[in-house]
Symmetry: C2
Subunit: 149 residues, 2 copies
Amino acid sequence: MKKNERHHLLRKLVQEDVIKKQEDFVDKLHERGIEVTQATISRDMKELQLVKAPAQNGGYRYNLPPEIDYDVSQKLSRLMKDAFVSIDTQREFVLIRTLPGNAFALAALIEAARYKEMFGCISGDDTVLVISRDEKSAQRLQKKIISFI
Amino acid sequence: MKKNERHHLLRKLVQEDVIKKQEDFVDKLHERGIEVTQATISRDMKELQLVKAPAQNGGYRYNLPPEIDYDVSQKLSRLMKDAFVSIDTQREFVLIRTLPGNAFALAALIEAARYKEMFGCISGDDTVLVISRDEKSAQRLQKKIISFI
DNA sequence: GGATAAAGTGTATAAATATACTGAAGAATT
DNA sequence: AATTCTTCAGTATATTTATACACTTTATCC
């Protein structure tokens, strides 16, 4: 079992089962004949950005990344690496320039990412304008977007 | 300092500062002359449902609840307790019945909650119809919604 | 008010998680 | 092919987080 396969399985398991702690993952994998240690799971959690969240019912449960979907994240990363030109903020606005023709796709992904800082998002051919909730949010957004490159 | 005030402050801090571990909270509060121990913070994290999430840059950071805003959650809980009548799923649909006149408010809150399982949501006077992404999601949604009662 | 219950917190510690260190296995380089 | 580099994962352990227990404070009831 390759690491990548395991990652996919973990993402599947975390959605289907209630995983309260990393050892639960170890056990679930063990049931499937896959041997890993808690240490490996801890590293997997980090890479997949899974979080142990307090649940409504008082317990804990591992969850998918809070804010941004893994797939969206992957796509954003790819597109940013491919088509990103520049980024800047002014007041509550974040302006992203891309290679011609890529802004619309980028805007769609940014929408899909559902950043809590974001208020709205419009795009032209090579420009995405993100309107955030305030100045601080704009800066935070800029950082987040840059981090994909 | 009352627990509730502290909770508000924690929610503020977690948005403004990078909090990597619970001790960071203890320190931040200490700076403001508020004395608490890590144990209390752990309990606060649980009640506020804050999560320690792996960050893009490789570190960790405490975050607000992943999927659902604290206020929204509170309101949903209140409204569900007040106005909920019944819930059922069929295929990828979840149908919620409420006391007359409450469905619109409930739908608005469900929208605000931005469940990842949800595709869309419409409402009448006493009925909310949630369209989810697939059958499994519908069941998961049902559970989540019931859990507010 | 006094009694009783409920909520909140610290201390100490158990439980869970992250990581330094190490070695194995494969890929890349010469 | 030998050497070096990189990735991966286990072991052992450090770090972090959760909680049992005890005590204090606050609310509730009579």
